[in-house]
């Protein structure tokens, strides 16, 4: 047996000594946590894992910077003759990956594709391009877009990949689908996809924007779903960059060859209460739940301390954000919580169910909440469900309490209206408040930023005081990289921005 073990070990060591086919070429190898789901059609793919590649392959008319300012992308400038008309001047010499020059006709086609119900495009809602009435190509480099109604965040919303500009010829050649084709203008073109293993995007030499040109010959995305395998791959130099979770951070603290890169996300995690169901229809109970939470403790346990106490408009939304640390319901007060429970007629508490799933931080939040709500007599059964079941509970609004992580987008039209307006698809708690609805409508119908801020802040405060949700935290997102990687500065606006990034191996 000893002999056998020795032989096996020797075999393995031999393997270890075989020269690694170390990439001499200039390639970024990126270990990601999930495979592209379904493919790469920017108009119909919602999976974050696919966005990593879509972001390299496609461009939008405009982009949004870290401070939420709209900046040029395919459109170098734009003007707004009136509140519902936008005229975009396109960059010159933009080439599709097919080699064809992009014109205003392609922009027109792209929006028509999004608005055509048969496409089933995700951007066909007023959160994105759904309010477009007509798109006209005034000449080859000028596009006029007219909206059906005023939509203040329209420009910023055009920065979504759901509003990418696509190559009509490629769409038509592939039977109307871009899932497995590349009809983009971006700095990288789609290379090989080996499902469940890797995706390669290759540099596009004719990219229109010098500053945004590909700095790598290729980016190879490796699907390493197992977190410890991903970290081992980085440690051994098999990959240069990985998507990290907070549990990894302590493990690499003393490793000089690895750097930690992070940004404050626009996501937030918290409890959603079904206001149609007793006892959550009682505002006193909802207030008590909010007051029972010790948010710092949840952050320590579920996020390893790497998150900010947050409401549903997180700090990364800049001037739109509301500082919840000043809100009375965001500071734990067990005495008051118990008193409110008694007032509501639940002096002895009640039993309820919390649905968790999808992410470890969601599951862990559920566990801490179970214990914290126990302090005020609420007996919580945590139901950890599989993805399909979780989505069903979300879509069917079928839950008592659900722990979710949502993205607040880049404008309160998303953060507030999408999640809290009566009848909105993401208003899973079935909240309905006439004043909030009115404020959301007012805010979208004016382009005066100061006014909009005033409307939204009022709406946000109503929702906070109604305690419709008990939001806990806005997490930091982490990457780990070899110290050879230079210039990678992800942000909530663009987590996969590789322009100007280099490797000095």
């Amino acid at each position: 047996m000893k002999k056998l073990f020795a032989v096996l070990l020797a075999m393995m060591m031999l393997l270890a000594l075989t020269p690694l086919s170390l990439a001499e070429e200039n390639v970024l190898r990126y270990g990601v946590d999930a495979d592209a789901a379904g493919g790469f059609d920017p108009h119909t793919i919602s999976a974050v894992a696919s966005m990593r590649m879509i972001g390299q392959m496609y461009n939008t008319l405009v982009d949004v910077d870290e401070n939420l300012n709209v900046i040029p992308e395919l459109a170098v400038s734009w003007e707004q003759p009136d509140d519902t008309t936008y005229i975009f001047h396109l960059a010159k010499g933009v080439k599709f990956h097919s080699g064809r020059t992009m014109t205003a006709q392609d922009v027109k086609y792209s929006f028509e594709r999004i608005l055509d119900p048969a496409t089933g495009a995700l951007g066909n809602s007023s959160s994105y391009a759904g309010d477009i009435d007509t798109v006209e190509a005034l000449d080859d480099e000028t596009v006029k877009i007219t909206l059906k109604n005023i939509n203040a965040p329209f420009l910023a919303n055009l920065s979504s990949s759901y509003c990418s500009i696509v190559d009509r010829d490629v769409v038509e050649k592939n039977g109307g689908s871009l899932l497995l084709a590349d009809g983009g203008t971006g700095p990288y073109t789609l290379g090989e996809w080996v499902p469940d293993n890797s995706i390669t995007v290759k540099a596009f030499p004719d990219y229109f924007d010098e500053a945004g040109k590909a700095t790598f010959d290729a980016i190879e995305f490796y699907v390493l779903t197992d977190a410890s395998a991903r970290l081992a791959a980085l440690r051994t130099g098999a990959v240069d960059l990985i998507v990290a979770d907070t549990a990894m951070l302590d493990l690499v603290e003393n490793d000089d060859s690895i750097q930690t890169i992070s940004y404050q996300s626009r996501n937030y995690t918290g409890l959603f209460l079904n206001v149609n169901r007793a006892p959550f229809d009682n505002p006193l109970v909802r207030q008590a739940i909010n007051l029972a939470l010790n948010r710092e403790e949840i952050i320590d346990f579920a996020f390893n301390g790497k998150a900010l106490v947050s409401g549903f408009v997180p700090a990364s939304l800049g001037h739109w954000a509301v500082d919840v640390t000043e809100n009375e319901y965001y500071t734990q007060n067990l005495e008051k919580a118990r008193q409110l429970m008694a007032e509501a007629g639940y002096a002895n508490g009640f039993e309820t169910e919390i649905i968790v799933g999808l992410l470890d931080s969601i599951r862990d939040t559920g566990l801490v909440v179970e214990q914290q709500l126990g302090e005020i007599g609420i007996k919580v059964n945590v139901q950890d469900v599989e993805r399909g079941q979780y989505l069903d509970a979300w879509n069917g609004h079928n839950f008592d309490i659900m722990v979710c992580q949502n993205g607040a987008g880049s404008d309160p039209s998303r953060a507030v209206a999408f999640f809290f307006k009566t009848g909105s698809s993401a208003n899973i708690q079935d909240y309905s408040n006439a004043r909030v609805d009115e404020l959301c409508e007012l805010a979208v119908a004016t382009t005066d930023t100061a006014k909009r801020e005033e409307y939204y802040k009022e709406a946000i405060n109503i929702i906070l005081n109604d305690c419709i949700v008990a939001i806990v935290a806005s997490p930091q997102e982490y990457f780990l990289a070899s110290t050879a990687l230079q210039g990678f500065a992800p942000s909530a606006s663009n987590a996969n921005n590789f322009s100007g990034v280099t490797l000095t191996r």
């Binding site: 995700l122 039977g175 469940d196």
Partner: protein, 314 residues
């Protein structure tokens, strides 16, 4: 024999129909569907209706099933709901990878298990026997995800080594492919080896007690001949049965190992299909795996007649 094989192949038909109905029903019963996966948080009633129509999910269930099975009998397993790519060629690609892994794992398992199993039966209750039994128990009881993670960590820490991350086919680059496959195959093989070793030991022990072995020994036959020609051959029926079952399971892919080592095998394809509720993918994969099981079992049954000529099918 020929009639027997034909009869066995004919039983495939009800088995596959039964499996296809079971899968169809299960996919309907489990919560969640492919559309909510596609739309995610952007789901609205209009978009849902659009996608259901696009994928044919708005038709009555019976019609959905029959239109699928109608195509399947002609060898057309349909297209993935998610990518639109045809399912069958992808199953074949993935199967080739899983089959390679399974075969390598078997070879490793046999190399470890058969000699050690025989040895420990001959030296029953000796020191070697005890060691072999402990190792076998470890092989059976350490879950492969744990040994996989531990081995990855061990190699990365001790040798600064990680298996190549980019999958390369067997015929593209033999060396690199082997480098990718050897570690996962070793892990799968060691688990298999544990049970094969135990089975070899116990069935050898049983045969060695038989009178005819005494007779063989009494007539002065060399020990080597006694063991391999007379004892091992007669004890190999349960071993072959066990190995057959294990190969069947391995061919269908070993999800956990494939996932940890990013090997694009059949197991991962099936799992992704299930988690995305991609019905044509799941249906195609499961039917194919069911087909494999039946075929491997048939092969094992045929093998019996070679091992033991007294067994015959008529």
């Amino acid at each position: 024999m020929r009639d027997y094989i034909i009869r066995r192949l004919l039983t495939l038909i009800p088995i596959l129909i039964g499996v296809s109905i079971a899968i169809f029903v299960v996919m309907q019963l489990i919560p969640g569907d492919v559309v909510s996966g596609i739309l995610g948080i952007e789901e609205t009633p209009e978009l849902r209706a659009m996608w259901e129509a696009k994928l044919g999910l708005d038709k009555p269930l019976i019609q959905q099933y029959f239109s699928w099975i109608g195509r399947a009998v002609t060898g057309d397993f349909g297209e993935s709901f998610r990518t639109g790519a045809p399912v069958f060629p992808e199953i074949m690609n993935r199967f080739a990878i899983s089959a390679e892994l399974a075969i390598l794992a078997c070879i490793i398992a046999w190399i470890i298990a058969l000699p050690l199993g025989i040895l420990s039966s001959l030296k029953r209750n000796s020191f070697i026997d005890r060691i072999v039994r402990v190792v076998a128990l470890l092989g059976v009881s350490v879950p492969n995800f744990a040994s996989a993670t531990l081995l990855i960590l061990f190699f990365s820490k001790a040798f600064h080594y990680y298996t190549p991350v980019k999958y390369v086919g067997l015929f593209e680059n033999f060396g690199t492919n082997m480098e990718i496959m050897i570690l996962p195959a070793f892990i799968l093989g060691s688990v298999m080896a544990g049970s094969v070793m135990r089975m070899t030991r116990s069935s050898m022990l049983e045969v060695l007690r038989q009178d005819y072995i005494k007779a063989v020994r009494a007539k002065g036959s060399p020990e080597r001949v006694t063991i391999f020609r007379h004892a091992f051959r007669n004890s190999s029926i349960p071993i072959v049965t066990l190995i057959g079952m294990q190969i069947g399971a391995l061919m269908g892919g070993t999800v956990v190992i494939e996932q940890i080592f990013s090997i694009p095998g059949l197991g991962q394809f099936t799992l992704t299909g299930i988690s995305q509720r991609d019905f044509p993918v799941v249906q195609g994969c499961v039917l194919f795996i069911a087909f494999l099981y039946v075929m491997v079992n048939l092969l094992v049954d045929i093998l019996y007649t070679f091992i033991d000529p007294r067994i015959s099918y008529s």
